[in-house]
Assembly symmetry: C2
Homo-oligomer: 251 residues x 2
């Protein structure tokens, strides 16, 4: 046991954030482009955007945006899932959102970020200089328009989350959360009801304003009501979408 363990942890994954310095001309073939802000741009404009982009890789558990730090970058998630959260001085945490492939991060007006961001699993991001992207926005009104759309739809989501946090019961919160996690378009009909949750129970708890125990009990309750099945903790099968929606909206 006296080998080269110079670091306290024994991790096989990359421990530090990796920045792919350049050579990133592949925006045109980016698999998340259609879902991201980049969808607003045609091929020519895209290359101007690509010139600003760096690819960065963040290992699971690592933070890459810190509350209060100067906001020098925007990010676009290409792989993996990110948790965005705010902390109280005593450590209480509220997760304000999860960002998966295609999501845009860093829409702060102020010069500083007002939240933290951490990789849940291994995450790959496109990073843009804030000032340079701002400059580009003057030239590319469609990009700015797209950002406004993104901001407005985030706002709608935030308002739904306020309703959830302020007025829903534990079971209603979990049901609402699962409904939101369902891929778009399968909220109606009973197709494609398999669901993989990238985040652990503690993250769900801090997102919907409960404790881990209450989340677990609510999962068990939904299971006992035959609304879902839980093949493994991170995999949920929605058995009765309509029923789940009923619960989510207060029976």
């Amino acid at each position: 046991m006296s080998d080269q363990d110079v670091l306290p942890q024994t991790v096989t994954r990359p421990r530090r954030i990796v920045v792919q310095p350049a050579g990133h001309d592949n925006c045109a073939e980016c698999e998340v482009r259609s879902r991201s802000v980049c969808a607003a741009l045609d091929i020519d404009d895209l290359s101007r955007l690509a010139a600003l982009a760096q690819q960065i890789v963040v290992p699971a558990g690592q933070g890459f945006i810190a509350d209060g730090a100067r906001a020098e970058h925007f990010y676009n998630v290409t792989h993996g899932t990110v948790r965005l959260y705010k902390l109280l001085p005593d450590g209480r945490r509220q997760i304000t959102g999860f960002a998966g492939p295609g999501h845009f991060l860093g829409l702060a007006v102020s010069t500083c970020y007002a939240f933290d961001a951490e990789a849940i699993d291994d995450v790959t991001l496109c990073r843009f200089s804030r000032t340079r992207l701002h400059g580009l926005m003057g030239d590319l009104p469609s990009l700015e328009r797209r950002l406004l759309e993104v901001a407005a739809s985030e706002l709608v989501l935030a308002q739904e989350q306020m309703l959830l946090l302020g007025r829903k019961t534990a079971r209603e919160r979990l049901a609402s959360f699962l409904m939101h996690m369902l891929p778009d378009g399968c909220t109606h009909g009973s197709d494609q009801t398999r669901l993989h949750l990238p985040m652990p129970r503690a993250d769900i708890a801090d997102y919907i304003g409960l404790t881990v125990e209450t989340v677990s009990r609510s999962f068990s309750w939904l299971k006992s009501e035959r609304l879902i099945a839980i093949p493994s903790a991170l995999d949920v099968e929605v058995r009765d979408i309509a029923g789940l929606r009923q619960v989510a909206n207060g029976s």
Copy 2:
């Protein structure tokens, strides 16, 4: 008592929403212009905006935006205060924000509103056609830029509210609410600590996710701690801003 009371209520205030059809060239002298999105425009552009504007007056208690209705207008508050909220089918209400003079309303991406809006006191608004304002935005990038700023700062507020609703205690919530209500710039220093709340206790309760009773008890507690004084229900005097901030952030 058998006079002309053809309506169930006996109200002296205007009962219906009044639309001032036109003659609204006074944007240049608008007293809320500097605080509103209109601040982004110079005098010439302002007149183009003014051409789209209608002034509407909404009596206290009246709704003027309905959840699910087609989103045909944007609004700018010029006088009074508006409550924005979402309802659950069984009537539980979450107020997602209050909008006072200068505030911009209607930033929905979708074709339909996803919230309700009601006048708290008598409210005056500037109303713009959604489609025409969208058209104007193409010509006036500074307007679009300003809207993006507004949306981004709303988002920051929404995230703080999620932290409040998900993780703060009753006292912390009320203290946070009062801190937010303080006019900008008086969060530090002990000047100007008088505060008028336009909304009743029930609205505060539905905003910070509590019941009226708990709001009232929390007010009494803050008073007993000498952090505030309550000359009348709607008037609060902040006695100890630093202390109130401490409570707001979890002692």
